[in-house]
Subunit: 401 residues, 2 copies
């Protein structure tokens, strides 16, 4: 049995980011940028007004002075001439400040009358002018590669004049559920049968991570069936199996895949839920074998598959984000397996997050997991812990899970 | 000028959730559930083993006893007979516990030998048996409507035997950018022109909220052009405009839409960035007019459009989630406008989040917004605040923004 950290380290070290594709800006949200976005222009391109009012020479625009209005400079329609002594040009937010002007008389500080304007408040030089390049200058990097693009990044790339972006291809993840007892939802259910939930929950996890799931037909507990289904791995960046990973006679995945070129790295980790976890390679394709119990499959999905999907997507290797909270109840000493307790998270009026582990932690209880949105991490051999002491939690909603 | 809270309240009160559609389970992740998902079966359907081992009568299975192995019960293949006195049936995780058995002899506590098994550790009655209905019982509600479906919910709906789910239709949001000065990224840029960023950033925000953006062609600052584009509103659940919402002569949206049946609710709010904000109705279609400055457009998008999209999507009305943090630097007294400062958020080793406002808060500086992932809220007339005192922030990454 190896530790969670070592297992995750070995998994992430065995993965490379997927290749690059070009997408239109309107398709780039939430994709991972593959090449830097540099500004193709300076923004604003020249000095512009930050307000509606009049472009003036500040020296002339003292309280009580009258200025002659010689033209207008709305945004997008630069004024052809300049501003001379005693002159003013009507200007609007975003309009280019004409040659000669060095200040803005605000609309609310001006009184317009037949081609002239009265200054009601002395203008400060430079005030209400946005200088050329205030936001960014041509050539500057606006968004760095390796970042999952937010709405703000999309806006910034647009402002930098980019209609196309280079992003990492969405990794394609094969999902193979195995087991004689499982059937698809809505299909005829034989005696002793169980409706398949792992493949669908994991496909949703894959989508939440921005990757593309390929749900393979369920493989019976039969060497040939598993072997044949595994051929699908050739089309995948990663093959995920569920079930068939422990030590009983009916755990066939390893046995079935051997003849197909499977090389095992490890298959047992010191974690609860989820001791049986397979990591290896099927030919060229990395293979992650998750346990068959629904809670174990999904928790191992969060702890191992989620970071793996991030690396395949072009993000830096990292564990799932942990938030700090305090325990809502006493917790017993832990054994040598790192434990992820299903827990409910709530925020106290003082802002403190409190995580309280569910009473039942059986790894078949999917509903307990659905109703408890946090995983409370207990380190191997952690001593007993009293209510109110600090703990670390993975907040599943943070990950769209 | 009305308050942020009143403005948001009026907007949300004017919206209804979109209709319902049926989607396959594999398309339902992140959609908002429109009808309860009730379990169509009991899980597990009968008592099953939680471990690999032997189903036995506990009374017989005392340390040192030998039991006769009469059959096998892997998951999905129930054993036809029962377990009589002195008998054991080989069983695997998830296998149905045969009639007569009331305990599980774990594999690691057993020694198998030619049709018999030696008990190495006395079996406790009921131990390692998952009772019928441990996870859920037929008819119980597994997922309640009005919830955005997580990967866990998808797994639970699958386990409850649902191949289809009723979800709210994705609201379709028209986005109309107006202005003579703006052009699409990559298109020829005239003197004084600015590349359009608002529509693309807002489209990404709409996607992040699970809705469907319809980016309309840019409308020139011309009554007829704006009016014609607004006809597109008939196909939308909400029309969002950007630009043209303030008081200058060149602010045309309200004027242009009047003849098309526009009724105004309000158009000025006590907020920074973003004083000019239009809310009204264009015929049947709600219309939200955002300011033209990129930062104002996006911040107003977070504060007003985001909650509006949630309501249209079938979620309960709520402001964007605020997280508690402490100020990283002193903040001056605030005036009567609620302020959303662009701020950087970091976590201290003790778990405390610290939000530090950016030095420059000009509403044209998109890069400052892209690089500062939090909006620090300052209430109207808030007194000066010292570094280390509590503040509230909207964390844009929490929203995919």
């Amino acid at each position: 049995m190896i530790s969670v950290e070592e297992a995750r380290g070995r998994i992430l070290a065995g993965l490379r980011s997927s290749g690059t594709e070009t997408v239109g800006l309107s398709d780039a949200w939430n994709r991972v940028l593959a090449a830097p976005v540099a500004a193709r222009l300076t923004q604003p391109p020249a000095d512009v007004s930050a307000m509606d009012g009049y472009a003036v020479r500040a020296a002339d625009a003292t309280e009580g002075a009258w200025l002659r209005v010689t033209g207008s400079a709305p945004a997008g329609h630069p004024f052809a001439g300049g501003v001379g002594a005693g002159e003013a040009v009507r200007i609007f937010t975003g309009g280019l400040v004409p040659e000669g002007a060095d200040g803005i008389l605000l609309q609310e500080d001006a009184e317009a009358a037949e081609g002239r304007v009265l200054v009601r408040e002395t203008v400060q030089p430079g005030r209400w002018i946005r200088r050329a390049g205030l936001d960014f200058k041509a050539g500057e990097t606006l968004v760095a590669p390796g970042r999952r693009l937010t709405a703000r990044d999309i806006g910034l790339a647009a402002a930098g004049n980019h209609p196309w972006l280079a992003v990492h291809r969405r990794p394609r993840i094969g999902i193979l559920a195995t087991g004689d007892e499982i059937v698809l939802p809505g299909e005829p259910l034989p005696p002793g049968g169980i409706v398949s939930s792992n493949a669908h929950a994991l496909a949703a996890l894959v989508r939440a991570a921005g990757a593309e799931p390929l749900v393979l037909p369920i493989a019976r507990d039969d060497l040939a069936a598993i072997g044949a289904a595994a051929e699908a791995a050739r089309f995948c960046d990663l093959l995920v199996t569920t079930g068939g990973a422990s030590v009983g006679e009916h755990d066939l995945v390893q046995q079935a895949l051997g003849p197909h070129g499977f090389t095992l790295d490890f298959w047992k980790i010191a974690m609860r839920p989820g001791k049986p976890l397979i990591w290896g390679r099927l030919g060229e394709t990395p293979l992650l074998g998750l346990p068959g119990n629904p809670v174990s499959a999904l928790v191992c999905g969060v702890i191992f598959l989620w970071p793996a999907l991030a690396v395949l997507s072009g993000l830096p290797p990292a564990p799932p984000p942990l938030r700090r909270a305090v325990a809502g109840a006493n917790l017993p000493e832990n054994d040598r397996r790192e434990d992820y307790l299903r827990a409910r998270l709530r925020q106290e009026p003082d802002g403190q997050w409190v995580a309280t582990a569910a009473n039942r932690q059986d790894s078949s209880m999917l509903r307990v997991l659905a109703e408890n949105g946090a995983l409370l991490r207990r380190a191997p051999h952690a001593p007993p812990l009293a209510a109110g002491e600090p703990v670390e939690v993975v907040v599943l909603a943070d990950l769209g899970l």
